[in-house]
Amino acid sequence: MKQYNNLYKTAALGIGLALSIGILPSCNKGFLDVPEQGKQQSTVFWKTADDATAGVNAIYGNLRSWENTAFPAIAIESIGSDDADKGSTASDASFFLQFDQFTIDPDQGNISGFWNGQYRNINYTNQVLDNVPGITMDENLKARYLAEAKFVRAFSYFRLVRAFGGVPLRLHVPKDANTDYNLPRASVAEVYAQIEKDLNEAAAVLPPSYTATTDIGRVTKGAALTLHAKVAMYLKKWTDVMTYTNTVMGMGYSLLPNYEKVFRIENENSVESIFEIQCALLPNNKDASNSQYSQVQGVRGVTGGGWGFNVPSANLAAAYETGDPRRDATIIFRGETTPSGDVISATGDNPMYNQKSYVPFSLFVSGFNEGAQQNVRMLRYSDVLLMNAEAANELNNSGQAISSLEQVRLRARQGNTAILPKVTTTDQNEMRKAIYRERRVEFAMEFDRYFDVIRQGRGTEVFGPKGWKAGRNEVWPIPQTEIDLSGGVLTQNPGF
C-alpha cells in the first residue's frame, strides 16, 4: 500500500510539474503575444499601391452614405426650398417641417447628421492626402489619387460652408487630442480659399476622362473645373466662372437629346454627366448596395415601395413655362403612367413625387433598398452652360449669355418650336431673371435650388413666405451636440 502511495505521489507530482512547466512559458512573452484576429492594424496599412487604391475607393464608397444622399441631405439642401415639400404622411418624420418652415432648433438630429457625414468624407480624403504621398508607387497614379481626394474634400467643404458658414477647417488626420482635435470655426473666406486651392490642384492633375471601364465614375478634370466654377459663382467671381466653364465647354461634353432619359439607369455616366455618386445593387453585397437616395424619395404606395419624402411642391409645378417637358420629366403625378411604364396609383398619399430619383419598379430587388442602383447626379453639363450664361451676363457679354442659355432650352424643347422660346433679351436684369428661372426648372429636385436662391440674395423674396429670415437663415445652426462636445470652442450661428 505504501508503495502505491508513493507511486501516486510521484505520479501527482509528475503531473503537477508537467502542468507547471507547460505553463511556465506563460511568463514569457510568447504566450501573451496574440495577434489581432481577422483585423488589419493601421500600422501595417498605407504601405503599398494597393493600400492607396483601397483608401481612395473608400472615399467613393462613403459618398453613398445616408448622410450624403438621404435624410440629412434632404433636410439641409432641399426641403427648405420652394421646390420641395416634406412629403409622406403628415405625421411621418414631421421634423422635416422644422427645415421647411425654418423653426429649426440646433438639437435636430439631421443637422449633426449632415455635419458628421461631410466630416467623414473629409476624414477619408485626409487619410489619403496624409498617407499616400509616402507610399512608393507609380507617381502618376499617386498624383491622380491625391487629386481625386482633393476634389472630394473640396466638394464636402463646399457643402459645409453653404450649410453652416465658417466651419472647422480640418486638413489633416487628427493626431493629438491636445492640439488638433477641438478646432475652432474658420472664417467663410478661409474655407472658400481652401476649397479653391484643392480644386485648382485637382484640376491640374485629373484626366479629362478615363479609358479603363473599371475607372468609370472617378472624378475628372471636368468635374473639378465645374465644381470650381460653381464655387466661384457662389463667390461672384464671374471672370473665374467664365474661365472654368469655357474650358469645360471645350472638353467634349454635350446634352443628351431627351431630358427625362438623363435620369435613367441606362444613362448613368453619360456624355452629359460631369460628376455622379456611384451606386449599385449587388445581389451578393448588401452592405455595398446601401444607397437610400432613391428609396426615401420614392413613390409611396403598394407598388412604389418608397418613403415619399422630399416631394415636388405645387409652387414648383406652377413654375414651368407652358408645355415645358421638364415638368413631366421632373414630377411624377399621382395617377400617371411613367415613361418607364409604371402606373402610379391615383389615390396615393402625395400628389407628386421626385421623378429624377425614380427607378422603375421592375428593377427593385426584394431585401434591398428600392432603387439602390440609382447614381446621384451631382454635376451636369447643363449646369456648366447656365453658369457660363450667368457669368457672361454679369460680365455684360449678353451674346454668350443668350447662346449658352439657349443650348439648355433647345434640348429642353426637344424640337417642339411651340414651347420654350429662345430668350433673346440683352437687358442684364431680364437675362439674370431668365437664367435664375432656367436654373430652377433645369435643376429642380437636384438639391440645387435652396442654396442657389440664397447666393442670389433672394432668400427673403423667395422663401420669406415660408418663414425664412434674412440675417438668420442664410445658414443652418451648428449642431448643438458639436457645441456641447467642443466645450464652447464652437460658437452658434446668430439667431439660434
Binding site: F31, Y60, Q480
Partner: protein, 1022 residues
C-alpha cells in the same frame, strides 16, 4: 476548508473514542435530529453531554444513540444551526428539531481558491445555499439572488434562456461586459445560463475588493463563486426528483389607446402638422385590435431534474439530468434546455484525490423577431389582424405612416429562426497532500461551445411593408473554445496552538477563443428543413463573412491568512495578471494586492462572561482589482474594411479600406480600489444576527467610450479611453432572526438594505463634460451629462414650465424654437428671454440609491411558507418611449387621456405632436421616479408525513406552489421600472456588449412587459 475538515475529523475521532468508552451505569438515549425548516434529517450533528467531553455524531439518517446519566443535558450543535440543549430527565427517546441559523461564525464560506470559516473572513462575502436557489423555481440561478443579498441587484430581461443582469455594489465598470466573473468549480465563465439551478450546492458573492482581488484582472464587476453538488463519502445512494410546472403571465402592462382613441390622436397629430385627418370618421373605429392580446399568452414552463448522489468510502459521485421547456410570452417563442452533469471524486489514497465535473448542455430556441415587442407597442389598433378576405390587415390601406407600418401578426407568421446551443464544460483535478501541511492541487478546465443560428425568410406578401420577392437563408455558427489551467500549493499549520497560518501560492493560464461564421443565400426552396442548405440557393447571391477573437491571460497569485487564538485575523494577497489585450503596452501586467484584518471580540477573555453577544467581530479590508473587459489591444488602431466603403465603378465593386477611427490613447489598466469596514454580530444564542458593511470603492481611470466631435470624421463618433475616476460609497445592513416557538413554529425573518452613492471625482477629458444618451429616441440630442462632482450619467435637459395654451401664451413666453400651442414651455433658467441650450440643467439621476429585500421562512408541522419582498428607491427613469415617434405609432392610454387637445385641457401633457423635435428634446416631463416594491417570491409547501412515505420507501415528498413577481408596485408609467439591458435574440447574445451603458443608464427604450411566474412543484427523495 482544510482547517474545517481537520477539525471535523478530529472531532469524529474523539466521538468514536467516547462512544466506545461508554459507562455501563448510564441509560441509552436515542433519537433523530431534523431540520426545522425543510424537515430533512441532519447527519453529522454533534451530540455532546454538557460539561463533559463525551459525545457522538448523528448518522446519515440523522439518528444518534448515546449512553449517559439520566439527569444530564445533551447539547446538539451543527454548523449553520442554532445550538440546542435538552435536559434528558430520564427520557430514552429525544427527537430534536434544529433551527437553522442565518449565519454563524463557524459556518464555512467559499472564498477565492478555497474555503474559510466565516470567522476567518476579513472581507465582505455573502453566501447562499443551493436549497435557497433551487427553491425559487427560477430557470436561471442568478434570478434567485434577487433581494436576497445586500448590495446585489438583479434585473430580469424576460427572454427565455437569457441571464438577468446582475450588479454587485453598483456599477463596477462601464465598458463592455458588465457581468461579474462566475467561477464554477474553478472554471471561469462570463455567463452561467448553462447551469441548472438544482446542481448548485453553494453560491458565494465576493463583494469587496479585498475578497475579489485574488481574481485580479477579472474581478472588477464582482465575483460569484459556485460550487456544484457532490456526493458524500460513505453515504448510500440518494435519488432526488424535483419538478415544477407553471406559467408566466404578463403583469403591469401599459394600457394602450384603443382604435377610436388612436384615430382621434392620429387626426390631431395630422392637423398639428398641417395635414388633413387620416380617419374621416373616428366614431366607427371602435375598440379595434389589442395587439398584446393577439400576440401574448400565458406561457407554459416545466422543469424536471433527477439527481443521483452518493459515495463509498473511497469515492463520491453525483449525476444529474435536467429538462426545461419554457414558452415565451410571445406566442411562437419557445426555449428547451437539456442539461447533464456528472461529478466524481476518487480518493486514490489517503493523500491523493482525483476528480472531475462535466456539464453538457443542449438548448434549442424558436426565436421571435427582436422588433416584435416594439411592434406590438407601436402597431395601430385600427388595423384588423386579418381582413374579411383572410389577407393581413395593412396599415398602408389606412394611410398610416412608417412609424406603424406593420402588422405584428405577419411579422411573427413569416419569421422562421431557430438557435441551437451546445456546450460541454467542466474540469479535471488532482489533489495531493504531502509533508503533513502541504496540499498541491492542479486543475484543468475547459469549455467547448457551439451556437447554430438559422433564419429563413420566405418569399411572401403580407402587407405593403412586409413582403419579399425572394427567400433568404441566413446561417450563423459561433464556436467557443476556452481552457484554463490552475495550480495551487497550500501550506497550513498551527504553531504553539494559537498561531494558525495558511499560505496559498498559485499560478493560472487561460485562453478564450471565439469564432463566428455568417453565410447567406437567396432563393433557397423550402419544403422541409432538409432544404435549408446554402447550396440550394442562387450562386450569385451567396455571401460569407467571419470574425474571431482570441484572448489569453497568465497569472500568479499568493495569499497568506494568519489568525491568533481565533481572535486576531490577518489576510494578505497579491495577484498579477498578464493580458494579451495589453500586450505591447507598458502595462501588459497588472498587480492587484489586498490586505484585511479582523478582531473576533467575543473570543477575548473579557467577553467570556457576557451573554449579550453570541459572537461579535470587526473587520476591515483594502484591495485593488482590475478590468479585462476591454477590446483586444485597445491601444491599437484598426483598418476599416466594411461594405459601405466599397467603391462602385461602372457597376463593379472594388474593395475600399481606410482608417476611420482616432488613434486610441495609450490605454492603461482600469483599476478598482476598495476599502471595506464591517462588523458581524450574533445575539441570543445566534438567533439574531446582524451584519453591516461600509465601503468606498474608486474606479480609477475607468475605460469607456465617449462621444467625440463629429468634425473628427470618425465612423462612430466615439473614442475608447481611460475617461474618468468614479467613486461608489455605500452602506449595507442585513439582519436575520430565527426561532422555534414552543408551539413548533420555526421561522426566520431576514432583511437587508443597501445605500450606494455614486460620484464622478475626475474626468480625464478635463473641463469638458461627457455628454451621452444621444440616440434616435431623443432625436439625436444628448440626454445625459457626466461632470466632476455629480453622479455618472445624470439626465440633462430642459425643465418644463407648462404647456403653451395658445398663441398669446407663446408670444408672452421666452422665445423658443418651434413653440406652438400644445408644446412644452421650457423654463428660461438664465433669464435671457429665450430658450437656448444654456437653459438645460440636471433633470434626474439614474443611479439607484437604496435597494432592499425582506426574506421570510415559516415552517409549522408539515407546512412551510416563504415570502420574499424586494425593492429599489431613490432612482429616476427617463421614459424614452413617449417621444420615440416617427409617425403614427400607437400611444398609451395615459398619454391619450391626459394630452393637451385645446386650450385649458392640460398644462402637463403635450399635444399629439409629442414627437416633434422641440417636444422630444430631453426634458423633465420624461423623467419620473423608478422606485418600486415587489413581492418577489411566495412559496407554500407541504411535506407528506413520514409514516406514509416509509410504506412507499420514499424518504421525502414535498409539494409546493410558488408565485414569483406576482405583485409589483410602482408609479412609473412605462413597462417596468427595472431598466435593464435591451435584450437581443439568442443569435445576437454573443454581441450583447452595449457600450456606454453607464452613460445611458436609465434611458428606458424597453417595451418588454413584466411578467409573473406561477408554479406548482414537487420534491421527491428516494
Amino acid at each position: 476548508m482544510k482547517r474545517f475538515f481537520t477539525k471535523l475529523s478530529v472531532l469524529s475521532t474523539l466521538c468514536l473514542f467516547f462512544t466506545n468508552a461508554a459507562f455501563s451505569q448510564d441509560i441509552t438515549v436515542k433519537g433523530t435530529v431534523t431540520d426545522g425548516l425543510d424537515k430533512t434529517t441532519v447527519p453529522s450533528v454533534s451530540v455532546t453531554v454538557k460539561g463533559t467531553t463525551k459525545g457522538v455524531q448523528t448518522d446519515v439518517n440523522g439518528n444518534y444513540s448515546i449512553n449517559t446519566s439520566a439527569n444530564s443535558t445533551l447539547v446538539f450543535t451543527y454548523i449553520g444551526y442554532v445550538t440546542q440543549e435538552v435536559l434528558i430527565n430520564g427520557q430514552q427517546t429525544i427527537n430534536v428539531v434544529l433551527t437553522p441559523s442565518s449565519q454563524q461564525l463557524e459556518q464555512v464560506v467559499v472564498v477565492g481558491y478555497g474555503t474559510q470559516r466565516k470567522l476567518d473572513v476579513t472581507g465582505a462575502v455573502a453566501s447562499l445555499k443551493g436549497s435557497e436557489i433551487s427553491k425559487q423555481a427560477s430557470t436561471n440561478p442568478i434570478g434567485a439572488l434577487q433581494g436576497k443579498i445586500a448590495g446585489v441587484s438583479i434585473t430580469s430581461t424576460g427572454t427565455p434562456g437569457a441571464s438577468p443582469q446582475i450588479r454587485i455594489r453598483g456599477l463596477g465598470t462601464i465598458f463592455g461586459n458588465q457581468a461579474p466573473l462566475y467561477v464554477v468549480d474553478g472554471v471561469w465563465y462570463n455567463d452561467i445560463n448553462f447551469l441548472n439551478p438544482n446542481d448548485i450546492e453553494n453560491m458565494s458573492i465576493l463583494k469587496d475588493a479585498s475578497a475579489q482581488s485574488i481574481y485580479g484582472i477579472r474581478a472588477a464587476n464582482g465575483v460569484v463563486l459556485i460550487t456544484t453538488k457532490k456526493g458524500k463519502l460513505g453515504t448510500p445512494t440518494t435519488i432526488n426528483y424535483d419538478a415544477y410546472a407553471g406559467f408566466q403571465k404578463v403583469t403591469n402592462k401599459v394600457k394602450m389607446a384603443n382604435a377610436q382613441e388612436y384615430g382621434i390622436f392620429t387626426n390631431e397629430l395630422a392637423g398639428l402638422n398641417g395635414g388633413t385627418p387620416v380617419f374621416s370618421n373616428t366614431d366607427n373605429l371602435g375598440v379595434g385590435t389589442d395587439w398584446y392580446d393577439q400576440t401574448l399568452r400565458n406561457a407554459f414552463v416545466t422543469n424536471h431534474n433527477v439527481s443521483i448522489a452518493g459515495g463509498t468510502d473511497k469515492s463520491t459521485y453525483n449525476i444529474s439530468l435536467g429538462y426545461l421547456d419554457q414558452d415565451g410570452i410571445i406566442k411562437t417563442n419557445n426555449y428547451k434546455r437539456y442539461t447533464a452533469r456528472v461529478s466524481n471524486d476518487i480518493q486514490l489514497s489517503k493523500s491523493f484525490k482525483v476528480g472531475y465535473n462535466i456539464t453538457g448542455v443542449s438548448s434549442k430556441s424558436k426565436d421571435v423577431p427582436t422588433t416584435i415587442y416594439h411592434q406590438i407597442y407601436s402597431a395601430s389598433p385600427s388595423i384588423p389582424v386579418f381582413n374579411a378576405d383572410g389577407s393581413y390587415g395593412d396599415p398602408t390601406s389606412q394611410g398610416l405612416g412608417d412609424g406603424a407600418n406593420f402588422n405584428p401578426q405577419a411579422s411573427l407568421d413569416f419569421f422562421n429562426q431557430q438557435t441551437k446551443q451546445y456546450r460541454v464544460t467542466g474540469n479535471v483535478f488532482a489533489e495531493l497532500k504531502f509533508a503533513e501541511h502541504f496540499t498541491f492541487k492542479s486543475s484543468f478546465g475547459g469549455e467547448f461551445g457551439q451556437l447554430e443560428n438559422r433564419k429563413y425568410g420566405p418569399k411572401y406578401y403580407a402587407t405593403y411593408a412586409q413582403k419579399s420577392d425572394v427567400s433568404i437563408l441566413d446561417l450563423k455558427r459561433v464556436e467557443t473554445r476556452n481552457w484554463i489551467i490552475e495550480n495551487t500549493l497550500t501550506y497550513e499549520n498551527t504553531f504553539n496552538k494559537d498561531h494558525n497560518i495558511t499560505v496559498l501560492l498559485g499560478q493560472s493560464a487561460q485562453s478564450n477563443k471565439a469564432y463566428t461564421l455568417n453565410a447567406s443565400a437567396q432563393n433557397v426552396p423550402f419544403t422541409s428543413d432538409a432544404d435549408l442548405y446554402l447550396n440550394l440557393g442562387d450562386a450569385a447571391t451567396r455571401t460569407a463573412a467571419d470574425e474571431g477573437s482570441l484572448i489569453k491571460f497568465a497569472s500568479y497569485f499568493a495569499r497568506a491568512n494568519y489568525s491568533f487564538k481565533n481572535k486576531y485575523l490577518l489576510n494578505a494577497s497579491i495577484r498579477t495578471d498578464g493580458a494579451s489585450q495589453f500586450f505591447g503596452s507598458n502595462e501588459t501586467w497588472g498587480y492587484f494586492p489586498s490586505v484585511g484584518a479582523g478582531w473576533v471580540i467575543t473570543n477575548e477573555d473579557f467577553m467570556k462572561n457576557q451573554t449579550v453577544f453570541s459572537s461579535l467581530k470587526l473587520r476591515g479590508s483594502w484591495g485593488i482589482i482590475g478590468n479585462a473587459n476591454v477590446p483586444i489591444n485597445p491601444s491599437q488602431q484598426l483598418v476599416g474594411q466594411t461594405g459601405n466603403l466599397v467603391a462602385i465603378f461602372n457597376n463593379i465593386p472594388f474593395t475600399g479600406k481606410s482608417v476611420n477611427t482616432l488613434i486610441p490613447p495609450a490605454i492603461v489598466w482600469e483599476k478598482g480600489i476598495g476599502t471595506n469596514i464591517g462588523f458581524e454580530a450574533a445575539f441570543l444564542t445566534n438567533r439574531l444576527t446582524v451584519e453591516a458593511d461600509f465601503y468606498n470603492r474608486k474606479t480609477s481611470r475607468a475605460i469607456f467610450k465617449i462621444p467625440v466631435l463629429g468634425s473628427l470624421g470618425t465612423v462612430d463618433n466615439q473614442l475608447l479611453g481611460n475617461q474618468a475616476d468614479i467613486q461608489n460609497r455605500g452602506v449595507e445592513l442585513s439582519a436575520a432572526w430565527t426561532n422555534t416557538t414552543e408551539g413548533g413554529l420555526t421561522y426566520s425573518v431576514g432583511g437587508n438594505i443597501s445605500y450606494n452613492a455614486n460620484k464622478v471625482i475626475n474626468v480625464l477629458s478635463g473641463e469638458i463634460p461627457i455628454f451621452s444618451g444621444s440616440t434616435g429616441i431623443t432625436n439625436g440630442a444628448f440626454a445625459t451629462r457626466t461632470i466632476v462632482g455629480d453622479p455618472i450619467g445624470l439626465f440633462y435637459g430642459y425643465k418644463v414650465a407648462g404647456i403653451f395654451q395658445n398663441a398669446t401664451d407663446v408670444a408672452n413666453s421666452p422665445t423658443q424654437a418651434s413653440a406652438a400651442p400644445g408644446g412644452f414651455k421650457y423654463q428660461d433658467l438664465n433669464g435671457d428671454g429665450k430658450i437656448t441650450s444654456a437653459d438645460r440643467t440636471v433633470i434626474g439621476d439614474p443611479n439607484p440609491k437604496y435597494t432592499y429585500g425582506v426574506n421570510t421562512n415559516f415552517a409549522y408541522k408539515n407546512f412551510d411558507l416563504a415570502l420574499d419582498f424586494q425593492g429599489v428607491a431613490g432612482v429616476d427613469i427617463y421614459n424614452a418611449n413617449l417621444a420615440n415617434r416617427f409617425g403614427n405609432e400607437n400611444i398609451s392610454k395615459d398619454l391619450f387621456d391626459n394630452r393637451w387637445h385645446g386650450e385649458g385641457t392640460s398644462n402637463t401633457y403635450p399635444s399629439a405632436n409629442i414627437g416633434a423635435s422641440a417636444n422630444a428634446a430631453p426634458n423633465s416631463f420624461y423623467v419620473s421616479s423608478g422606485s418600486y416594491f415587489r413581492v418577489r417570491n411566495a412559496q407554500l409547501g407541504y411535506t407528506l408525513p413520514s409514516g406514509i412515505l416509509n410504506k412507499w420507501k420514499i424518504k421525502k415528498v414535498r409539494i409546493y406552489a410558488n408565485a414569483q413577481n406576482a405583485i409589483n408596485i410602482f408609479g412609473y408609467k412605462g413597462f417596468s421600472p427595472e431598466v435593464g439591458p435591451i435584450p437581443t435574440d439568442n443569435a445576437e447574445k454573443i454581441k450583447a456588449d452595449r457600450p456606454n451603458t453607464a452613460l445611458n443608464a436609465g434611458l428606458d427604450a424597453n417595451v418588454y412587459p413584466l411578467f409573473a411566474t406561477y408554479n406548482f412543484g414537487i420534491n421527491l427523495t428516494f
